[in-house]
Amino acid sequence: MIEDRLRDTLDRVATGGPDEAGGYDRFLRRRARHSRRAAAATALALVAVLASAVTLSHLVPDPARPSRLVATGQPGPGRWQAGPLVAVVAFQGFEADVPAGWEARGTWRGIELRPVAVERRRLLARPVQMDSGFLDSYYNPAPNEVKHPAHAEEGLQLPRAAGPAPVGRQSRGSFPGGRGWFRADSHDGRWRSTRWDISWPYHCEPRVRCPMMVVLRTLRVAFTVEEGATAEAAGPAEHLLSSARPIANAVAGQAHAPPQDCVDGRNLKVVRGARTSVNPGTPTVVKFWWRARIATLVPCTLRGPLGVELLDPSGRRLDVQGNGLALTSVFNLPEARSIFRGSDSLWLELKWINWCGGRPARLRWIGAPDPGRTVPIDPPRCTDTSKPSRLAVERHDR
């Protein structure tokens, strides 16, 4: 086939070049040149900014506007910024005031905070977390809302007593203005953990049927501190909660933030599997499947690749049509409809048929967190030696 000959020729051409020796030295020299250029550009920009600032300070009075931390939910943690500042977390539907003496940064699920002073930081087992999520019905401060008639058919999917039994001490109350809060306190050795939840609105985008789960949404602040230091973190936590304001998906009619990327193990749960016929003997069809389900309320975008590569025991790719097939499409997973099951998931299935080559075979999941790992797989039966072995998409639901 022309494709195979082309692949072979391109491989030979690409690897047949002159010696690569000295490549890293040339890279270092180029990198140094770039750094010098960047430093010069930065210096120029700085001079320009300073000049503008000096000019503006004469023209415009100081607006005394606090600085802003904008968290976008990207996978890695952001840069710490010292308060006072306004933390804007549009993808989680809130903004809140970070008090002086504390610093904050964006995380994949919201923001986290810690004292600026290192000696006070040691009192915290980890930074204070602020994000939004679901409150289990054990604690749900608004249990009657889940019986809303518009969602009657979803009633059985609600997370009634889905979580573990409550531990520690629970209390409830309301902030001035009426917003209800729930607080759970527990301890483990010298550490004391506190979690605050306040009911928080969620509004789906226009023309999207909003799942009932949204009524269980809460804004959460959680911290773990050394015994005796609870007040150290409780003050800022209450400040965060009482200053929190709904924005974006928490306000009817407001545009939502661009969806986060779905990340397996964080806001997404991906289950992969291979299955063969239940009958004994060599199977006729081998199927590979993925089920990806959103693990938080807020929609996310799942990017591929999702696929498989079929290999022989030495790691060479088997001669199978479609081998290495990977879907790289983008799937927008909507709001979670249930914590048990739901239409908020992606189902992908590939099937492999008619293998007349050697056995055994190995399988590599493309797009898995450990992309180099291979596992043994029992190939399908040889059904027709005159036809090629094929790997193809069997089912693709979203």
Binding site: I2, L6, A14, T15, G16, Y24
Partner: protein, 174 residues
């Protein structure tokens, strides 16, 4: 381990050792010029290095570098007139020629004569093994256009392989 070199730097060195040859090869397949290929690969790696704190955490840092290289190549194509002036008087690299056999030589010559977008699609699709959707994303083209370019490119290569010149060349070899 070098004194004073941190983990990220060491990781990048390993990444460089693994990717440099691949990127240079891809650059050559897109340009037919080892000097330009080296420029593209070096540039892609410097840009990848600048984004390394972020890129190293991603699943496929190599894909990031490849994307930078393809984007740089696209920029060069957009500035085709400037490049044409720059390259005037220069001939594509001929000094290093791997043993391709007759078919391979004819095929490679035909690839080099393809229009730039057709060639880029075939290289990304059949050398880098990227699916059509990924090729479309890298080249900023609709998937339908990528399919059409791949189809036309392969048809042209088939035509070249079946051409009288090819048959004559095979006859001479026999």
């Amino acid at each position: 381990v070098d004194a004073g070199v941190d983990g990220a730097e060491l990781e990048f060195r390993e990444f460089f050792a693994a990717e440099y040859g691949r990127l240079r090869g891809l650059g050559f397949l897109l340009t037919s010029d080892w000097a330009q290929a080296e420029e593209l690969a070096q540039d892609a790696l410097v840009r990848t290095y600048r984004a390394w704190p972020r890129v190293r955490r991603s699943e496929r840092p190599g894909a990031y570098a490849r994307k930078v290289l393809v984007n740089r190549h696209r920029s060069l194509l957009r500035r085709a007139a400037v490049e044409a002036r720059h390259l005037a008087g220069r001939r594509p690299e001929e000094a290093v020629q791997p043993d391709l056999g007759t078919d391979g030589l004819v095929l490679w010559s035909a690839v080099r004569c393809l229009p730039a977008r057709q060639r880029a699609v075939l290289v990304l699709r059949h050398h880098q093994d990227l699916p059509e959707a990924e090729v479309a994303r890298l080249l900023g083209l609709p998937v339908g256009t990528v399919k059409s370019l791949a189809h036309r490119g392969l048809a042209r290569l088939r035509g070249e392989l079946g051409s009288p010149a090819m048959e004559e060349s095979r006859g001479n070899q026999r």
